[in-house]
Symmetry: C2
Subunit: 193 residues, 2 copies
Protein backbone atom coordinates (compact mmCIF):
# COMPACT_ATOMS: atom_id res chain seq x y z
CA UNK A 1 0.00 0.00 0.00
CA UNK A 2 2.63 2.51 1.07
CA UNK A 3 4.91 1.29 -1.68
CA UNK A 4 2.68 2.94 -4.25
CA UNK A 5 2.89 6.24 -2.41
CA UNK A 6 6.67 5.97 -2.19
CA UNK A 7 6.97 5.26 -5.89
CA UNK A 8 4.78 8.23 -6.59
CA UNK A 9 6.84 10.56 -4.42
CA UNK A 10 10.07 9.36 -6.01
CA UNK A 11 8.72 9.94 -9.48
CA UNK A 12 7.98 13.55 -8.58
CA UNK A 13 11.14 14.47 -6.75
CA UNK A 14 14.83 14.70 -7.36
CA UNK A 15 15.92 13.69 -3.87
CA UNK A 16 15.62 10.06 -2.74
CA UNK A 17 13.64 8.80 0.24
CA UNK A 18 15.65 7.47 3.14
CA UNK A 19 14.46 4.61 5.30
CA UNK A 20 13.62 7.04 8.11
CA UNK A 21 11.68 9.22 5.68
CA UNK A 22 9.57 6.25 4.79
CA UNK A 23 9.06 5.48 8.42
CA UNK A 24 7.76 9.01 8.95
CA UNK A 25 5.47 8.70 5.98
CA UNK A 26 4.08 5.42 7.22
CA UNK A 27 3.27 7.05 10.53
CA UNK A 28 1.68 10.15 9.07
CA UNK A 29 -0.50 8.60 6.38
CA UNK A 30 -3.47 6.61 7.63
CA UNK A 31 -5.11 4.04 5.31
CA UNK A 32 -8.81 4.41 4.77
CA UNK A 33 -11.27 2.38 2.73
CA UNK A 34 -14.36 3.90 1.19
CA UNK A 35 -17.25 2.00 -0.34
CA UNK A 36 -18.87 3.26 -3.49
CA UNK A 37 -21.02 6.36 -2.80
CA UNK A 38 -19.52 6.86 0.64
CA UNK A 39 -18.64 10.43 1.57
CA UNK A 40 -15.08 11.50 2.20
CA UNK A 41 -16.19 15.09 2.83
CA UNK A 42 -19.56 16.84 3.06
CA UNK A 43 -20.25 20.52 2.46
CA UNK A 44 -20.14 22.47 5.69
CA UNK A 45 -17.44 20.30 7.22
CA UNK A 46 -13.78 21.23 7.45
CA UNK A 47 -11.67 19.01 5.22
CA UNK A 48 -9.46 17.56 7.95
CA UNK A 49 -7.77 14.98 5.76
CA UNK A 50 -6.46 14.91 2.28
CA UNK A 51 -6.17 11.54 0.64
CA UNK A 52 -3.83 9.92 -1.84
CA UNK A 53 -5.81 7.54 -4.04
CA UNK A 54 -4.09 4.15 -4.04
CA UNK A 55 -6.96 2.45 -5.82
CA UNK A 56 -10.38 3.61 -6.90
CA UNK A 57 -12.06 6.77 -8.16
CA UNK A 58 -13.52 9.83 -6.48
CA UNK A 59 -15.59 12.90 -7.28
CA UNK A 60 -15.52 16.40 -5.81
CA UNK A 61 -18.58 18.53 -6.47
CA UNK A 62 -20.76 21.37 -5.29
CA UNK A 63 -24.53 21.17 -5.12
CA UNK A 64 -26.53 24.20 -6.21
CA UNK A 65 -29.81 25.43 -4.77
CA UNK A 66 -31.76 23.25 -7.19
CA UNK A 67 -29.93 20.20 -5.93
CA UNK A 68 -27.88 19.76 -9.09
CA UNK A 69 -24.34 18.46 -8.68
CA UNK A 70 -21.47 20.28 -10.37
CA UNK A 71 -18.29 18.24 -10.50
CA UNK A 72 -15.15 20.33 -10.08
CA UNK A 73 -12.64 17.52 -9.82
CA UNK A 74 -12.19 13.82 -10.48
CA UNK A 75 -9.46 11.69 -8.90
CA UNK A 76 -8.24 8.22 -9.74
CA UNK A 77 -5.14 6.22 -8.84
CA UNK A 78 -2.11 8.38 -8.06
CA UNK A 79 -4.19 11.51 -7.66
CA UNK A 80 -5.27 13.33 -4.55
CA UNK A 81 -8.69 13.90 -3.09
CA UNK A 82 -9.55 16.74 -0.75
CA UNK A 83 -10.58 20.38 -0.76
CA UNK A 84 -7.28 22.22 -0.77
CA UNK A 85 -8.73 25.46 0.54
CA UNK A 86 -10.69 23.97 3.39
CA UNK A 87 -7.77 21.70 4.21
CA UNK A 88 -5.14 24.41 4.47
CA UNK A 89 -7.29 27.22 5.87
CA UNK A 90 -9.38 24.95 8.12
CA UNK A 91 -12.53 26.66 6.90
CA UNK A 92 -15.81 24.86 6.12
CA UNK A 93 -15.90 23.44 2.63
CA UNK A 94 -18.59 24.06 0.06
CA UNK A 95 -17.86 20.76 -1.64
CA UNK A 96 -18.85 17.15 -1.32
CA UNK A 97 -16.30 14.45 -2.03
CA UNK A 98 -17.36 10.85 -2.39
CA UNK A 99 -16.13 7.58 -3.79
CA UNK A 100 -17.37 6.64 -7.23
CA UNK A 101 -15.84 3.19 -6.90
CA UNK A 102 -14.70 1.28 -3.84
CA UNK A 103 -11.54 3.18 -2.98
CA UNK A 104 -8.36 2.78 -0.95
CA UNK A 105 -6.86 6.00 0.35
CA UNK A 106 -3.85 7.06 2.35
CA UNK A 107 -5.03 10.06 4.33
CA UNK A 108 -3.15 12.72 6.21
CA UNK A 109 -4.03 15.77 8.27
CA UNK A 110 -2.82 19.27 7.56
CA UNK A 111 -0.69 19.33 10.69
CA UNK A 112 0.94 16.00 9.86
CA UNK A 113 1.58 17.09 6.31
CA UNK A 114 3.33 20.22 7.54
CA UNK A 115 5.37 18.01 9.83
CA UNK A 116 6.68 16.20 6.77
CA UNK A 117 8.18 19.34 5.25
CA UNK A 118 11.50 18.27 6.75
CA UNK A 119 11.55 15.55 4.10
CA UNK A 120 13.01 17.28 1.08
CA UNK A 121 11.18 15.10 -1.39
CA UNK A 122 7.86 15.94 0.25
CA UNK A 123 8.19 19.71 0.18
CA UNK A 124 9.34 19.39 -3.39
CA UNK A 125 6.29 17.29 -4.15
CA UNK A 126 3.73 19.57 -2.56
CA UNK A 127 5.23 22.56 -4.31
CA UNK A 128 5.09 20.85 -7.68
CA UNK A 129 1.57 19.66 -7.08
CA UNK A 130 0.40 23.15 -6.17
CA UNK A 131 1.99 24.49 -9.32
CA UNK A 132 0.56 21.80 -11.56
CA UNK A 133 -2.82 22.36 -9.99
CA UNK A 134 -2.45 26.04 -10.75
CA UNK A 135 -1.56 25.39 -14.38
CA UNK A 136 -4.39 22.94 -14.90
CA UNK A 137 -6.87 25.33 -13.33
CA UNK A 138 -5.76 28.18 -15.53
CA UNK A 139 -6.27 26.05 -18.61
CA UNK A 140 -9.64 24.86 -17.49
CA UNK A 141 -10.77 28.41 -16.85
CA UNK A 142 -9.56 29.42 -20.27
CA UNK A 143 -11.47 26.54 -21.85
CA UNK A 144 -14.61 27.27 -19.89
CA UNK A 145 -14.78 30.89 -20.99
CA UNK A 146 -13.36 30.43 -24.49
CA UNK A 147 -14.74 27.26 -26.01
CA UNK A 148 -18.13 25.70 -26.71
CA UNK A 149 -19.01 22.36 -25.13
CA UNK A 150 -17.93 20.31 -28.11
CA UNK A 151 -14.38 21.61 -28.00
CA UNK A 152 -14.13 21.21 -24.25
CA UNK A 153 -15.11 17.58 -24.61
CA UNK A 154 -12.51 17.00 -27.31
CA UNK A 155 -9.92 18.58 -25.06
CA UNK A 156 -10.84 16.37 -22.13
CA UNK A 157 -10.65 13.33 -24.39
CA UNK A 158 -7.08 14.30 -25.24
CA UNK A 159 -5.93 15.42 -21.80
CA UNK A 160 -7.49 12.83 -19.52
CA UNK A 161 -8.65 9.85 -21.59
CA UNK A 162 -8.60 7.75 -18.40
CA UNK A 163 -11.58 9.68 -17.10
CA UNK A 164 -13.76 8.62 -20.00
CA UNK A 165 -13.11 4.99 -19.20
CA UNK A 166 -13.64 5.28 -15.48
CA UNK A 167 -16.63 7.57 -15.16
CA UNK A 168 -20.06 7.34 -16.77
CA UNK A 169 -21.10 9.99 -19.22
CA UNK A 170 -23.33 11.95 -16.90
CA UNK A 171 -20.39 12.47 -14.56
CA UNK A 172 -18.20 13.64 -17.41
CA UNK A 173 -20.98 15.96 -18.55
CA UNK A 174 -21.17 17.56 -15.13
CA UNK A 175 -17.39 17.97 -15.09
CA UNK A 176 -17.64 19.81 -18.39
CA UNK A 177 -20.45 22.00 -17.11
CA UNK A 178 -23.10 20.61 -19.46
CA UNK A 179 -26.02 18.20 -19.12
CA UNK A 180 -25.83 14.52 -19.96
CA UNK A 181 -28.26 15.04 -22.85
CA UNK A 182 -26.02 17.64 -24.43
CA UNK A 183 -22.97 15.42 -24.06
CA UNK A 184 -24.83 12.53 -25.62
CA UNK A 185 -25.68 14.67 -28.65
CA UNK A 186 -22.15 16.01 -28.90
CA UNK A 187 -20.78 12.50 -29.03
CA UNK A 188 -23.22 11.47 -31.72
CA UNK A 189 -22.07 14.40 -33.83
CA UNK A 190 -18.42 13.56 -33.18
CA UNK A 191 -18.86 9.97 -34.38
CA UNK A 192 -20.23 11.13 -37.70
CA UNK A 193 -16.91 12.73 -38.56
Amino acid sequence: MYEILFQYIKAYSTTPLTESDMEMLRNAFIPKKLRKRQYFLQAGEVCKHTGFVVKGAMRQYSVDEKGVEHIVRLSIENWWAGDRESFTMLTPSIYFIDAWEDTDLLTITSADLNGLSSIAAMSELTKKLDLNQSFASQKRINSAISFPAEKRYAELEKTYPEFLLRFPQHVIASYLGITKETLSRIRRQAVKK
Copy 2:
Protein backbone atom coordinates in the same frame (compact mmCIF):
# COMPACT_ATOMS: atom_id res chain seq x y z
CA MET B 1 8.71 52.38 -5.95
CA TYR B 2 10.34 49.53 -4.08
CA GLU B 3 8.71 50.70 -0.90
CA ILE B 4 5.34 49.53 -2.16
CA LEU B 5 6.75 46.10 -2.87
CA PHE B 6 8.29 45.92 0.58
CA GLN B 7 5.04 46.89 2.23
CA TYR B 8 3.27 44.26 0.21
CA ILE B 9 5.73 41.53 1.17
CA LYS B 10 5.52 42.49 4.83
CA ALA B 11 1.74 42.35 4.75
CA TYR B 12 1.88 38.78 3.49
CA SER B 13 4.56 37.35 5.70
CA THR B 14 5.24 36.78 9.34
CA THR B 15 9.00 37.35 9.19
CA PRO B 16 10.37 40.90 8.81
CA LEU B 17 12.62 42.11 6.00
CA THR B 18 16.18 42.97 6.92
CA GLU B 19 18.11 45.75 5.26
CA SER B 20 20.13 43.23 3.29
CA ASP B 21 16.94 41.47 2.18
CA MET B 22 15.74 44.75 0.77
CA GLU B 23 19.03 45.24 -0.93
CA MET B 24 18.67 41.87 -2.61
CA LEU B 25 15.14 42.68 -3.66
CA ARG B 26 16.20 45.99 -5.14
CA ASN B 27 18.81 44.18 -7.19
CA ALA B 28 16.53 41.42 -8.40
CA PHE B 29 13.47 43.43 -9.33
CA ILE B 30 13.83 45.64 -12.39
CA PRO B 31 11.44 48.57 -12.88
CA LYS B 32 9.60 48.69 -16.16
CA LYS B 33 7.12 51.15 -17.57
CA LEU B 34 4.40 50.15 -20.01
CA ARG B 35 2.21 52.48 -22.00
CA LYS B 36 -1.43 51.69 -22.47
CA ARG B 37 -1.90 48.83 -24.98
CA GLN B 38 1.75 47.88 -24.87
CA TYR B 39 2.49 44.16 -24.67
CA PHE B 40 4.18 42.63 -21.68
CA LEU B 41 3.95 39.16 -23.24
CA GLN B 42 2.79 37.81 -26.59
CA ALA B 43 1.53 34.30 -27.30
CA GLY B 44 4.37 32.08 -28.51
CA GLU B 45 6.98 33.78 -26.36
CA VAL B 46 8.33 32.39 -23.13
CA CYS B 47 7.28 34.55 -20.19
CA LYS B 48 10.74 35.47 -18.97
CA HIS B 49 9.60 38.02 -16.43
CA THR B 50 6.83 38.21 -13.95
CA GLY B 51 5.80 41.66 -12.81
CA PHE B 52 4.50 43.20 -9.63
CA VAL B 53 2.06 45.96 -10.48
CA VAL B 54 3.07 49.12 -8.62
CA LYS B 55 0.63 51.29 -10.51
CA GLY B 56 -1.70 50.62 -13.40
CA ALA B 57 -3.85 47.81 -14.76
CA MET B 58 -3.16 44.81 -16.99
CA ARG B 59 -5.00 42.10 -18.88
CA GLN B 60 -4.01 38.52 -19.63
CA TYR B 61 -5.95 36.82 -22.40
CA SER B 62 -5.95 34.17 -25.08
CA VAL B 63 -7.07 34.80 -28.64
CA ASP B 64 -9.17 32.14 -30.35
CA GLU B 65 -9.10 31.19 -34.03
CA LYS B 66 -11.76 33.79 -34.78
CA GLY B 67 -9.58 36.48 -33.28
CA VAL B 68 -11.77 36.94 -30.22
CA GLU B 69 -9.98 37.77 -26.96
CA HIS B 70 -10.80 35.77 -23.83
CA ILE B 71 -9.57 37.41 -20.67
CA VAL B 72 -8.35 34.94 -18.08
CA ARG B 73 -6.89 37.38 -15.60
CA LEU B 74 -6.90 41.04 -14.64
CA SER B 75 -4.24 42.69 -12.48
CA ILE B 76 -4.16 46.06 -10.78
CA GLU B 77 -1.99 47.59 -8.05
CA ASN B 78 -0.50 45.03 -5.68
CA TRP B 79 -1.21 42.13 -8.01
CA TRP B 80 1.07 40.21 -10.28
CA ALA B 81 1.18 39.93 -14.03
CA GLY B 82 2.72 37.03 -15.90
CA ASP B 83 1.90 33.56 -17.15
CA ARG B 84 2.81 31.36 -14.22
CA GLU B 85 3.14 28.22 -16.31
CA SER B 86 5.31 29.67 -19.04
CA PHE B 87 7.35 31.51 -16.42
CA THR B 88 8.16 28.49 -14.29
CA MET B 89 8.39 25.86 -17.02
CA LEU B 90 10.04 28.14 -19.57
CA THR B 91 7.60 26.94 -22.22
CA PRO B 92 5.96 29.17 -24.83
CA SER B 93 2.86 30.89 -23.55
CA ILE B 94 -0.55 30.80 -25.19
CA TYR B 95 -1.48 34.13 -23.63
CA PHE B 96 -1.07 37.78 -24.36
CA ILE B 97 -0.52 40.20 -21.53
CA ASP B 98 -0.80 43.93 -22.09
CA ALA B 99 -1.28 47.13 -20.18
CA TRP B 100 -4.79 48.50 -20.03
CA GLU B 101 -3.54 51.69 -18.43
CA ASP B 102 -0.06 53.20 -18.31
CA THR B 103 1.59 50.87 -15.83
CA ASP B 104 4.64 50.72 -13.56
CA LEU B 105 5.98 47.25 -12.90
CA LEU B 106 8.75 45.68 -10.89
CA THR B 107 9.82 42.69 -12.94
CA ILE B 108 11.91 39.67 -12.08
CA THR B 109 13.14 36.57 -13.88
CA SER B 110 12.46 33.04 -12.79
CA ALA B 111 16.11 32.47 -11.91
CA ASP B 112 16.29 35.64 -9.84
CA LEU B 113 13.08 34.79 -8.08
CA ASN B 114 14.45 31.38 -7.12
CA GLY B 115 17.54 33.14 -5.87
CA LEU B 116 15.39 35.05 -3.42
CA SER B 117 14.13 31.91 -1.71
CA SER B 118 16.79 32.46 0.93
CA ILE B 119 14.68 35.37 2.13
CA ALA B 120 12.18 33.72 4.45
CA ALA B 121 9.51 36.31 3.78
CA MET B 122 9.77 35.71 0.04
CA SER B 123 9.37 31.95 0.09
CA GLU B 124 6.48 32.43 2.46
CA LEU B 125 4.98 34.93 0.05
CA THR B 126 5.29 32.83 -3.09
CA LYS B 127 3.82 29.84 -1.30
CA LYS B 128 0.84 31.84 -0.10
CA LEU B 129 0.33 33.36 -3.51
CA ASP B 130 0.36 29.97 -5.18
CA LEU B 131 -2.19 28.73 -2.72
CA ASN B 132 -4.44 31.74 -3.05
CA GLN B 133 -4.21 31.44 -6.78
CA SER B 134 -5.24 27.82 -6.46
CA PHE B 135 -8.22 28.66 -4.29
CA ALA B 136 -9.39 31.46 -6.53
CA SER B 137 -9.07 29.26 -9.61
CA GLN B 138 -11.08 26.49 -8.02
CA LYS B 139 -13.87 28.92 -7.21
CA ARG B 140 -13.86 30.42 -10.65
CA ILE B 141 -14.09 26.97 -12.23
CA ASN B 142 -16.96 26.12 -9.96
CA SER B 143 -18.74 29.34 -10.92
CA ALA B 144 -18.11 28.84 -14.60
CA ILE B 145 -19.64 25.37 -14.68
CA SER B 146 -22.35 25.93 -12.08
CA PHE B 147 -23.85 29.35 -12.54
CA PRO B 148 -25.49 31.37 -15.30
CA ALA B 149 -23.91 34.64 -16.43
CA GLU B 150 -26.06 36.81 -14.18
CA LYS B 151 -24.90 35.07 -11.04
CA ARG B 152 -21.27 35.12 -12.10
CA TYR B 153 -21.49 38.86 -12.58
CA ALA B 154 -23.05 39.36 -9.15
CA GLU B 155 -20.25 37.29 -7.68
CA LEU B 156 -17.58 39.34 -9.41
CA GLU B 157 -19.24 42.52 -8.17
CA LYS B 158 -18.90 41.21 -4.64
CA THR B 159 -15.44 39.67 -4.90
CA TYR B 160 -13.53 42.21 -6.95
CA PRO B 161 -15.52 45.49 -7.05
CA GLU B 162 -12.27 47.28 -7.97
CA PHE B 163 -12.33 45.62 -11.36
CA LEU B 164 -15.67 47.18 -12.25
CA LEU B 165 -14.23 50.62 -11.63
CA ARG B 166 -11.00 50.08 -13.50
CA PHE B 167 -12.01 48.15 -16.59
CA PRO B 168 -14.67 48.92 -19.18
CA GLN B 169 -17.64 46.62 -19.50
CA HIS B 170 -16.51 44.77 -22.56
CA VAL B 171 -13.36 43.70 -20.70
CA ILE B 172 -15.40 42.52 -17.72
CA ALA B 173 -17.71 40.65 -20.09
CA SER B 174 -14.79 38.81 -21.64
CA TYR B 175 -13.49 37.96 -18.18
CA LEU B 176 -16.88 36.44 -17.37
CA GLY B 177 -16.94 34.51 -20.62
CA ILE B 178 -19.88 36.41 -22.12
CA THR B 179 -20.28 39.12 -24.74
CA LYS B 180 -20.51 42.81 -23.97
CA GLU B 181 -24.10 42.86 -25.21
CA THR B 182 -25.13 40.14 -22.79
CA LEU B 183 -23.43 41.92 -19.92
CA SER B 184 -25.17 45.14 -20.84
CA ARG B 185 -28.54 43.41 -20.70
CA ILE B 186 -27.74 41.66 -17.45
CA ARG B 187 -26.94 44.97 -15.84
CA ARG B 188 -30.17 46.53 -17.07
CA GLN B 189 -32.10 43.66 -15.46
CA ALA B 190 -30.12 44.01 -12.25
CA VAL B 191 -30.93 47.71 -11.92
CA LYS B 192 -34.65 47.00 -12.09
CA LYS B 193 -34.46 45.09 -8.80
